[in-house]
């Protein structure tokens, strides 16, 4: 991003007791950017978001939003921040309207502004018909959209979404991402965390988090294009052939970066230069081998494998 970043995270380190949650997490999110912090559970995504929201003081490193420290509540940083936590954060015994009204009041919106924004947000989230419904009577997807509306009422310059699509049905997930794309195009800076690798493609920038820091960062298209590894689907000719296949994989050694089950066979990520040799060896061991289009998951797995103590999942 050419313009000055809105959120800056640099060198964050944090541990909870003996567990290291963050180990040098650094990235920036600029205006009009939809930044996806992608990684498995325990990669430090939520801790990073909480540090940005001013809910956690990291042991080391700094966090800035528009140059302001989120831990200084009087600095005006909270007016610039919209936060949607992973857990339910709205009052479930209050209705949709009452929740919106409450958060509108907390951000000191005047009546006219509030009504305008409420109309607009209820419209785009398609919740207008449910104003009187209590929040605990909403479906998972509707609830997330209400939480999003509450976080957007004050038109923040940075929107933080912690696993917004977790536990949401596929249709609502799609809608949620469409909304985010809209906000991004209006110039908002958005940080989304997700453990669904396929959602990374919808971000304008992706950071792959593993063990408390980023292992890869870039535009999704560039990352996939720059991925030199080859993904193979390997299937033994018969169920008995699996053993021979596994010993062939062990022989291939470090060039095989990831192995995951796929149907009755395996999905393996192999270093680009070695792919043909490994494929030939596997076929010799009696397996059917087919090339697959690499996805983010493969990207992540191959990167994680190169980390010290890697061999992720």
């Amino acid at each position: 991003m050419e313009s000055t970043p809105i959120a800056v995270v640099s060198g964050l380190k944090h541990h909870f007791g003996a567990t290291l949650a963050l180990n040098g997490m650094s990235f920036e999110v600029g205006p009009g950017q939809l930044y996806g912090l992608v990684g498995p559970d325990g990669a430090g995504k939520t801790t990073t978001v909480r540090a940005l929201a001013g809910l956690l003081e990291a042991n080391e490193g700094t966090v800035r939003i528009d140059g302001l420290d989120p831990l200084e509540p009087g600095s005006g940083v909270r007016e610039r921040l919209g936060y949607m936590p992973q857990r339910y954060g709205l009052y479930r015994d209050l209705s949709v309207d009452e929740n919106l009204q409450f958060f509108g009041d907390l951000f000191c919106l005047d009546r006219k502004t509030f009504n305008q924004r409420r109309e607009r947000l209820l419209g785009i989230t398609r919740l207008a018909a449910f104003g009187d419904r209590r929040a605990d009577a909403l479906s998972g997807g509707m609830y997330k959209k209400l939480a999003l509306a509450c976080a957007l009422l004050h038109q923040p310059s940075l929107l933080l979404l912690d696993e917004p699509t977790n536990g949401v049905d596929p249709v609502s997930r799609g809608e949620l991402w469409d909304l985010l794309a809209d906000f991004m195009s209006q110039g908002m800076a958005i940080l989304v965390t997700t453990s669904y690798m396929d959602e990374a493609a919808r971000c304008s920038m992706v950071g792959l988090a593993f063990r408390g820091r980023l292992v890869l960062e870039g535009r999704p298209a560039d990352l996939v294009a720059g991925f030199s590894d080859v993904v193979l689907r390997v299937e033994p000719a018969s169920p008995e052939g699996m053993e021979a296949l596994e010993s062939a994989l062990v022989q291939a050694g470090d060039v095989v970066e990831a192995v995951t089950p796929l149907g009755s066979g395996l999905r393996i990520v192999v270093q680009g230069g070695e792919a043909d040799r490994v494929a030939a060896d596997l076929e010799a061991a009696g397996a059917n081998v087919r090339r697959l289009t690499p996805g983010f998951e493969d990207l992540f797995l191959s990167r994680a494998a190169r980390e010290p103590g890697g061999e992720a999942t």
């Binding site: 005006g76 921040l81 936590p85 857990r87 339910y88 209050l94 907390l106």
Partner: protein
């Protein structure tokens, strides 16, 4: 009144009025408790079940027993099962008191010798023991004075007698609660207790609930200041608490004839200061707790000693000397003194200035402590 403060208050009131379990707890429970405590906690003793052993069997001995059980103190339930072991009736719970008139009572009395009358009382409840001793002594003294008078009358003549046996007699007048009804003593104490339970527990669980449900986080990331959040949560419960006091006093006046001899305005001021303290205490505990359960237990374990060390049940003067200074840290102590002072004695502000000042200091300190602790504890 900032918009944030207003919003929090409005939200709290909405949530309380929507919670079906909350309203009964805040309104019906106090009245029930007052009535139950007011009737059940009774320090007056009457109709002690009494067995008698008349080993003398004379007119005089029968007269003695008749006169002893004539008033409401002792209820004659008949002779003891075994006059050699009258305490067996007490041990088996048949009687609370046994009176034994020894053989030769009438002869000794008439010949001018000392006579001992044995009174056995159940001391497993100290109230019975003490009461039996006092009533029996009074009854026997009255009887023996009568006997003496009759005898002297016979011997000399009345006018001289009065002079000879003249002695100072105590004439006790009990102020503020002349009939010594324990309800008058208890109701102010119960009002203080109920307020404590309602406001402290509800408040302690309130913030812990928000933390447990995750709503607190969502509020913390808004520009709302810590003091707005805390005051916004405190004020609605202060109002509910004031309403409860009014309710309890009305019921107290109606059911137990508890008077209001002092200024209602002063009472309102005292109540306000007290509720500030109890709500502040609840909030303070709430800030430390991670779950509602923890908050509830913390509130409970603070409240029990608080009530026992307040003088609601037993006078502070009766507590061990080393324990008494602790009661100065107890807001319940001050409020009970204020309530009893205003309701029963018609005390003025200058009479109660120490209690008011202490309560105000406690309330402000605990609220500030809770606020500071809360704003430091973001994660």
């Amino acid at each position: 009144m900032t918009p944030g403060l207003m919003a929090v208050m409005r939200k709290e009131i909405r949530q309380v009025s929507r919670d079906r379990r909350m309203m009964p707890m805040l309104i019906i429970a106090p009245v029930m408790q007052l009535i139950i405590f007011g009737f059940a906690v009774d320090f007056e003793v009457e109709h002690l079940k009494t067995v008698t052993c008349d080993l003398d069997g004379t007119t005089e001995s029968r007269e003695l027993l008749r006169r002893m059980t004539a008033d409401q103190s002792f209820l004659d339930i008949g002779p003891a099962t075994d006059c050699l072991r009258p305490h067996e009736d007490i041990r088996s719970n048949r009687a609370e008191v046994a009176v034994v008139v020894p053989r030769g009572y009438a002869t000794d009395l008439l010949s001018g010798h000392h006579v001992a009358i044995q009174i056995l009382a159940d001391g497993s409840n100290p109230l019975y023991g003490r009461f039996a001793r006092e009533s029996a002594t009074a009854a026997i003294e009255a009887i023996s004075a009568g006997v003496m008078r009759e005898r002297l009358e016979l011997a000399r003549g009345l006018t001289q007698v009065e002079r000879t046996i003249a002695r100072p007699l105590p004439q006790v007048r009990v102020f503020y609660n002349p009939r010594m009804k324990s309800a008058l003593f208890m109701v102010p104490g119960v009002a203080a207790m109920i307020l404590l339970i309602v406001t402290t527990i509800v408040m302690a669980m309130n913030l812990a609930r928000e933390r447990e449900l995750g709503t607190l986080e969502q509020v913390i990331v808004t520009p709302l200041r810590a003091w707005e959040l805390i005051l916004g949560k405190v004020l609605p419960f202060v109002i509910i608490g004031c309403f409860d006091v009014l309710l309890v006093l009305t019921v107290g006046a109606w059911v137990f004839d508890v008077p209001v001899r002092g200024s209602l305005l002063l009472l309102a001021l005292g109540t306000l200061l007290y509720i500030l303290s109890t709500v502040g205490l609840g909030l303070f505990l709430s800030v430390a707790a991670k779950t509602q359960q923890q908050a509830f237990l913390a509130a409970f374990s603070v409240m029990m000693p608080g009530i026992l060390l307040s003088g609601v049940m037993t006078p502070i003067e009766n507590m061990p000397r080393w324990l008494q200074p602790l009661t100065y840290l107890n807001p319940i102590r001050y409020y009970v003194e204020i309530l009893r002072g205003i309701l029963l004695k018609g005390a003025s502000l200058s009479d109660l200035s120490f209690d008011f000042a202490a309560l105000a200091v406690f309330g402000v300190v605990i609220l500030i402590a809770a606020g500071l602790r809360f704003s430091k504890r973001v994660d």
